[in-house]
């Protein structure tokens, strides 16, 4: 709980600080404060490893799984805060509040990772979502941003409603909202009531919306494209991580009695999602939209981890998410660094980037290659790990689909690489200057990608012990 308290304190102190800071600088300073706070809290989080247990009548749980997801969330938020700091000029107004909203969203996401009760989970989810709706529409001068906000809000609200309705059935069937209690009651009953499965489907649909699983994904490209870049980054990383944090815990607890149906459901969803995301990305010309489609594809790979029965798939999800966060963050760091000097988010704006700024191009290259799953980057082992676990459960067809789409994804990523490296920049464009702090952050992300890609062992070990601590903490 210390971390959560710290987080709340951080958010509130930022809120107060915002009142006293000069309008023009508040965003910058708050971002720095928040980054420092998040970094410290991350350290604190690490020290909480081992102190596992429940709180608030077991509606809050702190175990390895929660800590791992929180760690990923903190890293993602750290990147997003930095992006927000560099994005001040584009925001134009409400810079301080922007940082606040990121922290609110983090609070929501953080509680999602620890929630052991649907009630807490629901409120946390809404905290995250509402903050995101607002941030998505933050660029008031851009129609696309408002449009994205509206779309996200409407569909998000629908998904909330579907979630609630599903929850009511789960609650009605079992008479509880606590994960463990529900699981116990279901295990003790001889048959699995249809109403429970019905509720489960609705809940999964709603969470599928959050993690952008086909067919609940249609908001993704539009919202990713329209939202301010740091928000897109947040959606792609932290929000998705939160969704998977919830799904993993639910699959392991509440839904575990329906393992058979889950495997069927998630494997089909995973296949559809992988195919849709990767094929849909091919014709895209907007880099953020392209990353949106690609994030759908990645959600598909992550869903494979859910489809695989047992704990291995979930370990793979942890690894995958962290590597995905590093890679995606790296790509968005580049986009944010470019934000001031490109006219639009069209891929063609990156033409000749390697000439204009080798460092940015290299960061983008590493990030895209990692996303595509090319060794020696983290994305490779992530895919390998998850497909390995899938193969273990005998779903060869899913492995084949996953692998074939690696090729597809390589195609559209390489198209971007080609634009950056092979094409000549338009004459007269100046070289781009990248600040040291930006370089440092990119370096951090690249280092993460590389370390995860080469020294996979420790990460796998942490993931494994996270899952085993989940078992012992219950």
């Amino acid at each position: 709980m210390k971390v959560e308290m710290g987080l709340v304190a951080l958010a509130l102190s930022c809120l107060v600080l915002d009142l006293f800071l000069p309008k023009k600088k508040s965003g910058y300073i708050l971002a720095n404060v928040a980054m420092t706070g998040v970094a410290l809290l991350f350290a604190l989080l690490c020290f909480e490893w081992g102190q596992f247990g429940h709180a608030f009548g077991s509606s809050f749980v702190q175990d390895g799984l929660a800590i791992c997801f929180k760690g990923i969330l903190f890293i993602a938020t750290f990147f997003v805060l930095f992006m927000a700091r560099e994005y001040q000029a584009q925001l134009k107004r409400g810079q301080g509040e922007f940082i606040l909203l990121i922290l609110f969203a983090l609070i929501g996401a953080d509680f999602i990772a620890s929630a052991n009760d649907f009630l807490l989970f629901f409120v946390a989810l809404e905290t995250l979502s509402v903050s995101l709706y607002i941030m998505t529409a933050y660029l008031r001068d851009h129609e696309s941003s408002i449009e994205a906000g509206v779309k996200y809000l409407i569909l998000g609200a629908l998904s909330t409603a579907v979630f609630l309705y599903g929850l009511s059935f789960v609650y009605g069937t079992t008479g509880s909202t606590n994960y463990l209690e529900i699981q116990q009651r279901l295990v003790s009953s001889s048959t699995l009531p249809a109403s429970f499965i019905f509720g489960m489907i609705l809940i999964i649909a709603s969470l599928g919306f959050k993690v952008s699983a086909v067919p609940f994904h249609l908001w993704v490209p539009d919202v990713y494209q329209g939202a301010p870049t740091p928000v897109t980054a947040f959606l792609a990383t932290a929000s998705k991580t939160a969704g998977f944090a919830a799904l993993v815990r639910l699959v392991l607890t509440v839904f575990s009695p329906a393992a058979e149906q889950l495997t069927l459901l998630f494997s089909v969803l995973a296949a559809l999602t992988i195919i849709y995301g990767n094929l849909g990305a091919i014709p895209q010309t907007n880099i953020k939209r392209l990353l949106g489609y690609s994030s759908i594809g990645h959600a598909g790979y992550l869903l494979i981890g859910l489809a695989v029965p047992g704990l291995l798939g979930k370990e793979a999800i942890l690894f995958y998410l962290l590597s995905y966060v590093f890679s995606t963050a790296c790509a968005f760091l580049v986009l944010v660094a470019l934000a001031g000097s490109i006219k639009s988010d069209a891929v063609s704006e990156l033409t000749g980037l390697s000439k204009r700024s080798p460092a940015l191009a290299a960061a983008m290259l590493v990030s895209l290659m990692s996303l595509a799953g090319v060794p020696p980057f983290g994305g490779f082992f992530a895919k390998f790990y998850i497909l390995w676990s899938c193969m273990r459960s005998g779903m060869i067809w899913l492995v084949v689909i996953g692998l074939l789409n690696v090729v597809t994804s390589l195609y559209y990523y390489l198209k971007v690489v080609k634009v950056m490296y092979a094409d000549e920049p338009a004459p007269g464009l100046p070289n781009l200057e990248v600040s040291h702090s930006q370089k440092a952050m990119q370096f951090f992300a690249i280092a993460g990608i590389l370390v995860m890609g080469i020294f996979q062992g420790p990460f796998v070990q942490v993931a494994a012990s996270a899952l085993s601590s989940f078992l012992t903490t219950r």
Binding site: F198, I201, P215, L218, L264, A281
Partner: protein, 619 residues
Amino acid sequence: MVAHIILFAPLTAAVFITFFGLRRPKLSAGVALAGILLSLALSTFMFWSNAFEVRGGDAWIQAPGLLVQFGFLIDPLSLLMLLIVTGVGSCVFLYSISYMKGDTSYARYFASLSLFAFSMIGIVLSNNFLMLFVFWELVAVSSYLLIGFWFEKPSAADAGNKAFIVNRLADFGFLLGILYVWMLSGAAGTERTFNFAELARRLPEYLQNGTIAPAAMTIAALLVFCGVVGKSAQFPLYIWLPDAMEGPTPVSALIHAATMVAAGVYLMTRSFFLVSASPEALAVIANIGAITALLAGMLAVVQNDIKKILAYSTVSQLGYMVVALGLGSSTAAMYHLSTHAFFKALLFLGAGAMIHGLHTQDIWEMGGLFKKMPVTAATFLIGTAALCGIPPLSGFFSKDEILHLALEHNKLIFGVMLFTASLTAFYMTRALWIAVLGPDRAHGHKKNDHEHGNAHDAPFAMKLPLILLAILSMIGGFLGIPTFLSGEHAEPLNMTVAATSVGAAVFGIVFGTMLYSKKSLVHDPLKRSLGTFYQFVVKKYYLDEFFVWLAGLFQNALARVFFWFDTNVVIDRGVNGAASVTSSFGSLLRRAQTGVVQSYAMVFAIGIVAIVYFLLMRS
């Protein structure tokens, strides 16, 4: 060890020239000559000391199931061939020193020539099929390099390519033959071998006890013979040899008259155990030889280029040798090979001297040479006589042996051979009258008068080989070559055959003299009198056209079809098709992204309905 030195001396010379001699022409010529002379000296030493050896040699390629040796087989056959190669080789090297003087690539010439000598000696010394094949290919390369020596000249470059390709085509069969023989050698479950001695022991035995079928032997023999057809320029692959005359004349003398082209005959002799066991193969070989001899003889009649005349003559004489093989006597073949090496090398070198002096190869621009270059003319005359089979010159004896053989075995072939003998005499007489004895025709229609007028006998370095070879051509019949080879005493001359053959030769000479001794002759009188047939022969029986058509079939038709297939089917339809299906699928998918938020909600709802249906309602 001696054999090693014989083999590697020319190679060392070649390597030395490549690394150190490219800018030092004189040094490189000296080194090359030293190399071949060393080989000659040691060969002679071996000959005198009767140092026959049939050693296993060292393992060259050793792998499970395969042992290829690097070893020498030295017996009378290889020793004789070795002497011819190094002997004629030395003459040609010596001759080349002044013949090639002033050429910009003087050193390269000697390097290539030394490489050739190395490869040729390798063929002779090899104790197994694969090693022989290695050198067999190497002579092809050196021949390619030497034919295309003046590679800036398109015709020379083309000729080199043609020679190489035709030989490769023949080696297709030869290599299959080697593999086939290799397989047969293990028919009884023993370890397979390429070794000649071992094969000669095993194969007849296997044939005897039925381990291998007679047909198998025929196949093996004919496949190996394929190589001979290429290298020894037999019908229908002789087409490369006349073109090979684009190379420097000493090269033609050494490679394309005396040694390399004879390598095929040597090979057949070496592997005679294959052929002798198969009457069918023998018949095929004899017939091919006869056809070659006849066709090439006729071709020689219509040539105007002195080297081409000699080239076709070579082909024709090779036909004789092959006939001898086909009739079952390798000794006769080798006998004719030896004498032919002497007089044909002599003729080529003589022709070279004429070309050197007159700067033309057209016999109709020569003439009156006895005055200008008496030594050349005289040796040329001796060579001609030897070729025509005038007793007691060397050609008479060897040719007589073959005719005798033919008479005994196959009357038809005898007739053909006899006709060819007469044809030989005829075209050589023609060449002699027009190019050497006749009046100097160049003044009438040639521009470089001053050079022509200054034509004189070659320098000593060129004359010496001529004289040496002339001597050999004269006494070649008395050296006891058949005895040396077969160990038996030569049969006495069959007077009937001898008389017939001399008669045929004389007929040819007389007829030739009648036609071509006229001083006023400017054009070939045969052209008019033979009409269409003459044209047919001039066009080389359209055999080249046939091959061009065949090559075109492969190169243009089939290859183009494949290329078309590659670009339009494999790539376009297959690859791009798959790619475009994928990406159009992508475009199709994104149509779901209408932009209207309610349609997204609709899909969301449909998704729920579908999942509920499939997961809950269906069962």
